[in-house]
């Protein structure tokens, strides 16, 4: 009886509230918008799912997944050395300072940080000014002239959008990797060295495999957070829609709830696949 009470509330939350909303969403996606009245036709149909797989919608999904993947990769590359230093080399005091430094941005408003980056990256912003002063303004222009990822200025390009995404989500990568590396016993690394392994070999054969659960856990955060974000793409970048924005327009502006519901299953499916892969890499052991 007591167990039932103890589990009842979380179970109700997970199955009833959370699972129930997902089920309602799924049901919605099998309705369709009546093109004449603009109302929702509640007889089951696959028409909405057919509308979902248009070229335009798939390009929105591809853009979002591409951005989420590159942000995740870049976060790993930046976070790994930082986390390694924090976990293995920093003194107790330095470690506290560094962990605090990683966390502090999370204490300020997400919106304030995004809008500040808009100013930092703008055509008249400090990054541009810095490049000009160093006499390498041409270099920045050359980067911005790149097809597809460039644009009139950093704040109006995929490059700028990518930088801001990485900045915003990086702490969620550093902390799990650090937690994973803390758990690698020093004796393993000493043993590897004693057996004559080059430091690079030790990293490849001992540290990296043990860090993988942390990397996978961090990547779940950076990937899913980028996948679901719909603020950054409206403030930074060239306004090309991301999945979150598309869902918002279909639901909020067009009143096309069925299509929005169907589209909502794209990130759910992508994350499902991702979590499946992450589980096989042991990500859930480092959480």
């Amino acid at each position: 009886m007591r167990l039932a009470l103890l589990l009842g509330v979380p179970l109700f939350w997970m199955v009833g509230v959370y699972g129930g909303s997902l089920a309602a969403l799924l049901v919605q996606s099998f309705f369709r918008l009546d093109s004449f009245a603009g109302t929702i036709d509640r007889s089951p149909t696959l028409a909405t799912w057919r509308d979902l797989f248009t070229d335009a919608n798939m390009s929105v999904a591809a853009r979002t997944i591409g951005m989420a993947s590159s942000v995740t990769l870049a976060s790993i590359v930046i976070a790994l050395p930082l986390a390694y230093f924090i976990a293995r080399h920093a003194s107790r005091r330095t470690k506290a300072v560094l962990v605090l430094a990683v966390m502090i941005p999370l204490w300020s408003s997400y919106l304030v940080r995004v809008y500040s980056w808009k100013l930092i990256l703008s055509a008249d912003g400090i990054v541009n000014w810095f490049f000009e002063r160093l006499g390498i303004g041409g270099l920045l222009d050359a980067v911005l002239a790149l097809p597809a990822i460039g644009g009139p200025s950093l704040s109006v390009s995929y490059i700028g959008q990518f930088l801001v995404f990485v900045y915003i989500w990086l702490p969620y990568m550093v902390l799990p990797i650090q937690a994973a590396l803390e758990r690698v016993p020093r004796s393993f690394i000493e043993a590897s060295a004693d057996l004559g392994a080059h430091p690079a070999t030790t990293f490849r054969k001992v540290v990296w495999p043990l860090a993988i659960p942390g990397v996978a856990a961090g990547s779940i955060f950076t990937f899913s957070l980028t996948l679901g974000d719909y603020i950054i793409p409206t403030v930074i970048g060239d306004s090309s829609p991301f999945i979150g924005l598309a869902i918002y327009s279909y639901q909020g502006v067009a009143g096309n709830l069925p299509l929005a519901a169907a589209f909502a299953f794209v990130p759910i499916a992508v994350m499902g696949l991702y979590l499946f892969g992450a589980k096989r890499l042991g990500a859930f052991e480092a959480l």
């Binding site: 004449f36 703008s122 008249d124 009139p152 060239d238 306004s239 829609p241 502006v253 067009a254």
Partner: protein, 393 residues
């Protein structure tokens, strides 16, 4: 089991009680204003109902409350769709400041009631051009009181245009060099809402007369496809689409934006901070918005609501609001002698441009009731297709 039954009974009673209050307008509009209720609840755009809390000089609520004893409660909404949803889903609101792309939907849905203009003594002071406007008048019945209106202007950087105002929207629709010798690509912006398709239609209406566009909100498939083509060309020129007025202000200031469809609101702020920005309505005309204060069919406080409708037309309120919002008063008398608006305020905000504006309305598949169903492209397709255009498709 018994407990559950009594719970159900209690619930049913509660629901019945909720549905029972409020007045119904089934017998036609109110004929006489009675005693004030305790309050009036208004759904409004942000900045539309100010009580001096943002800026002390901008206060048009305190006096009304003192005069009538009706406390004003405001629920702000960010989009027309949100307004429609709030009004349809509830019986707790009395009034809404609906734009033209929401007002007809509210009337058609039976959400708002006819207004008895005899109970609004200031009705005769309303701009004659607005009194019978089609976005609040259906079959000769008035479903609201005009509040404010404005145009979606072409804002431009006077330095990039060598001091001359551009005469055509083509500076943001076609690739070209601007008068400063630099190409316009990457230096123009467009509005991030699907209703912007109408701006392309306004442009096509005069540049491609053979398409036969009469009303930019009533497009057949061929005209619509042409409008989308214009927008696709524009996509290659636009760095960023704007949807937040303050982001656009920042883009004009820091990103070197040379021209964009914009609102007088942004232009006024940019000019006040000394930026070389001006605005114009090109020869093709422009789109615009006109807001109407409408009354819920089951308004719980009709007497306070009617008193607000009349109050909303007083020249002081209209002038102050126009100065605050960068809009045009619906009462011409408000243009004279308003301290906050200034002598030229109405002209600056576009008072003379009424006839050149195609006011926002929701595109429907029966061309707003003028043709057979299926003759015009409805709004939900505008949403899907405009999103695809912005995504480069």
């Amino acid at each position: 089991m018994r407990r559950i039954t009594s719970l159900v009974v209690a619930l049913v009673l509660a629901v019945a009680a909720c549905g029972g209050d409020g007045t119904s307008a089934e017998d036609g509009p109110l004929q006489e204003i009675g005693d004030s209720e305790d309050k009036v609840v208004i759904v409004a755009w942000a900045g539309y109902i100010e009580r001096g809390e943002t800026e002390a000089a901008y206060d048009w609520v305190t006096q009304y409350e003192a005069d009538t004893g009706c406390a004003v409660e405001v629920k702000t909404a960010g989009t027309s769709d949100e307004m429609v949803a709030l009004m349809t889903g509830s019986d707790e609101f009395d009034l809404v400041t609906a734009s033209g792309d929401a007002s007809l939907r509210l009337i058609a849905g039976g959400t708002v009631q006819e207004v008895n203009t005899d109970l609004v003594p200031s009705w005769n002071t309303v701009d004659e051009r607005l009194q019978d406007a089609p976005w609040h008048t259906v079959d000769g019945k008035h479903y609201g009181v005009p509040y404010q209106w404005g145009a979606n202007v072409l804002a431009y950087n006077t330095e990039a245009f060598g001091g001359n105002a551009p005469t055509s929207w083509n500076v943001i629709f076609e690739p070209m060099n601007l008068p400063d010798g630099e190409p316009n690509a990457g230096r123009v912006q467009a509005y991030d809402g699907p209703i912007y398709v109408a701006d392309a239609a306004v442009y096509l209406k005069s540049t491609r007369p053979e398409l036969g566009i009469e009303d930019p909100y009533q497009l057949n498939d061929e005209q619509y496809a042409e409008a989308l083509d214009v927008l696709r060309t524009q996509r290659s020129l636009v760095g960023r689409y704007w949807h937040d007025a303050f982001i656009q202000i920042d883009d004009f200031t820091n990103e070197g934006v040379a021209a964009s469809a914009s609102w007088p609101f942004q232009v006024n702020i940019l000019q006040a901070s000394g930026e070389p920005i001006a605005s114009t309505i090109p020869t093709e005309g422009a789109t615009g918005w006109a807001d109407t204060t409408m009354m819920h069919v089951n308004a719980p406080h009709p007497n306070c609501a009617y008193q607000w409708l009349d109050w909303s037309l007083n020249p002081k309120l209209q002038g102050d609001l126009a100065a605050w919002f960068g809009s045009v008063p619906s009462v011409p008398a408000a243009c004279d002698g308003n301290e906050l608006l200034g002598a030229e305020g109405c002209t600056t905000n576009g008072f003379e441009n009424f006839d050149r504006i195609s006011f926002w309305k929701t595109p429907t598949d029966d061309c707003n009731g003028t043709e057979a169903a299926g003759s015009c492209v409805p709004y939900y397709r505008w949403v899907t297709d405009y999103l695809a255009v912005i995504g480069g498709r």
